[in-house]
Symmetry: none
Subunit: 192 residues, 2 copies
Amino acid sequence: MKTLTTGDIAKMCDVNLRTVIRWIDRGALKGFKLPGRGNNRVRVEDFVSFLQEHDMPLPAELAGENNRRVLIIDDEAAVARSIARILRSAGYETEAAMDGFQGGSMLVKFQPALVTLDLRMPGISGYDVLKFIRSTPETAHIKVVVLSALDQQALQRALDEGADAVLSKPFDNQALTDVVERLLPVATTELA
Amino acid sequence: MKTLTTGDIAKMCDVNLRTVIRWIDRGALKGFKLPGRGNNRVRVEDFVSFLQEHDMPLPAELAGENNRRVLIIDDEAAVARSIARILRSAGYETEAAMDGFQGGSMLVKFQPALVTLDLRMPGISGYDVLKFIRSTPETAHIKVVVLSALDQQALQRALDEGADAVLSKPFDNQALTDVVERLLPVATTELA
DNA sequence: CGCTCAAGTGTCACAAGTGTCATATTTATG
DNA sequence: CATAAATATGACACTTGTGACACTTGAGCG
């Protein structure tokens, strides 16, 4: 989602919708109006700079959009280390989870912008993890890259279930960083 | 994100609103200002750490929420429902996690006061979960009740690894509520 | 013990921001 | 197309920030 409604902002700031509209009318928060009745929309970057300007905390929902954190869910330590090395050298902050339980807790605690997910892990299906991420509002926005040595059909199913990208193992270092950088555009506020 | 106004805090601490504002201005209590006239808002977590730092009692409004939540980690839906029914009727708020991933994420998101943990789940060892809970600062305080059909030796090992109580399956309804109530004393505002 | 001082807190009135409510309209959903 | 959900608006009530001043508390000291 590129823009926010007044309701979105009201929820994130724990403030009444009426108040958000007043901020916009007063010019404190930059926004624009839809042609219809003048419903307000605010670009995420404008909202973020608004928050920074007033020393207001960044809501968790947006923290996930503007960060470079990647969570690696893979039960093979060697693979996880390898992925971590590649992504760290590309400037990402990484954490690894070796089992489903760690994965779930890190997902909520670490609030990554992207998750690399091994489809086949002992005891837990990668599809279930994917479904969980997509069906939970707090995590639905997180990008998911599925890594697997399984066949094309399995990868297609992952895409159908909401994966943003798939990579078949073994994969090229460059391919991994390409995919991650495509999914995490540097959408920072480049203005002074 | 839940926030508090100066008025909320004033009522909870039984002080004047003016005083709360001074705490914030002085930096003793972390907060931020709304863009309008600079009305103050304080995040609940910041307020709680402020209270702890000054050895002030936790208001009932905040304590009550944190005290009666139980997370049920069990892959057998029937067992989970059964436990939920028993604990709900005893006045607890429950959530169930059917696999390790859900368990980990609910642990962080739901922030339960107590976890019932099945030792034997497909793909993930209950001991690992226990170790994770105990070794993570944010969750180390959470009470853990291990439920298992395994032998006495397995239960003893769970106790050794930090479980607060163990129950061998099948267990008596009353036994479960007894254990939970022993671990979650009704810590209402007993302070003057 | 009484005094003084300093620091923190409560009180008051006013101005300004924010929440609530009902309602009309728009947008989303199926 | 029809229905449900979300949004804008105005009026009004409530809450909050501010400054000035009085009050309380605790410590230090003669």
